[in-house]
């Protein structure tokens, strides 16, 4: 379905189900509006940007973030508990690994659309699309190129499929020439695509 007519039909149907559930005591009056307001005030990519900027400026924090992200993000006043239940957050870091190889990570949920929504807000539509979910596991280099991110062959790519209970966030590599920037300025460089891995930062 699409278009305005379909949209007004489905909104009437949704309202109908809500009132039916209210009548049967399964929803409190006004509960849905309260939940929407809470949700819209909650997760946002800015949270991820704050975490990244802290990791770039505080190596100890970066280490704790990669070891136990749920505990580390509480240090900056954030948590993964804002959704239906607290979920495990796994942060994967771009850059040169222990074996000297440069790694780039990219996140997908091939089976549905799992995403750290409580922390980062809703995912973009392309992340939920069959087009992205089907292709990025098979041809990440090609998909990243379409996003404008051309990685040299020497960069090893890991695709993380959120197929169970963890939710993932990429810690991008700090861009060169940013030594003089404050933590807040650094946070301003980080994009949602950078946190998913379809952009460098």
């Amino acid at each position: 379905m699409s278009g305005e007519h379909a949209s007004s039909t489905i909104s009437a149907e949704v309202r109908h189900v809500e009132s039916l559930l209210e009548a049967r005591g399964l929803l409190e009056p006004g509960e849905i509006d309260t939940r929407i307001d809470e949700f819209l005030a909650g997760g946002s990519p800015a949270n991820g940007a704050r975490i990244v900027a802290r990791a770039w400026t505080d190596p100890g924090f970066a280490e704790r973030l990669l070891a136990d992200a749920n505990a580390a993000i509480r240090e900056v006043g954030l948590s993964m508990a804002g959704g239906i239940q607290e979920q495990r957050l796994k942060v994967v870091a771009n850059g040169v690994g222990a074996d000297g190889t440069e790694e780039h990570h990219v996140v997908v949920c091939t089976l549905c659309s799992c995403y750290p929504i409580a922390l980062l807000g809703p995912s973009p539509s392309w992340y939920k699309s069959e087009a992205y979910r089907s292709r990025v596991v098979r041809d990440p280099r090609g998909v990243l190129r379409e996003f404008g991110l051309v990685l040299p062959d020497s960069v090893a790519i890991s695709v993380w499929d959120a197929s169970a209970e963890s939710r993932y966030m990429v810690l991008p590599r700090r861009p060169d020439g940013t030594d003089g920037l404050s933590e807040e300025q650094l946070a301003g460089l980080v994009t949602r695509k950078g946190l998913i891995g379809t952009a460098a930062v």
């Binding site: 379905m1 909104s11 949704v14 039916l20 091939t110 549905c112 699309s129 292709r135």
Partner: protein, 94 residues
């Protein structure tokens, strides 16, 4: 028996399209469906795996024709009927 949701590695879907300045929801009803699902899971009417399973059990043709939140709403109605909260008829008369 792979289900329609299991698309990893599959070919033939449309190109990936980015929407500049995409809103968090494209219509009010989408936000309502999102919140409705969260409320029903919190209340224990069904769990998240039952919710995913219900989407996967939608007829393939309906699944592919539906938008993201249309699938959610179809799954919510399917589960409410299966759990005996209301009949399918009660849930569709808008």
């Amino acid at each position: 028996m792979s289900r329609m949701n299991d698309v990893g590695g599959m070919s033939g879907f449309a190109p990936i399209v980015e929407e500049p300045d995409e809103p968090r929801f494209h219509a009010d009803w989408e936000a309502h469906v999102f919140a409705l699902n969260a409320a029903l899971v919190r209340r224990g009417v069904y769990n998240l795996d039952e919710f995913r399973d219900a989407q996967e059990r939608l007829p393939v043709r309906e699944y592919l024709a539906a938008s993201y939140y249309e699938r959610w709403f179809a799954a919510i109605r399917m589960l409410l009927a299966e759990k005996g909260v209301a009949t399918a008829e009660e849930l569709t008369h808008g």
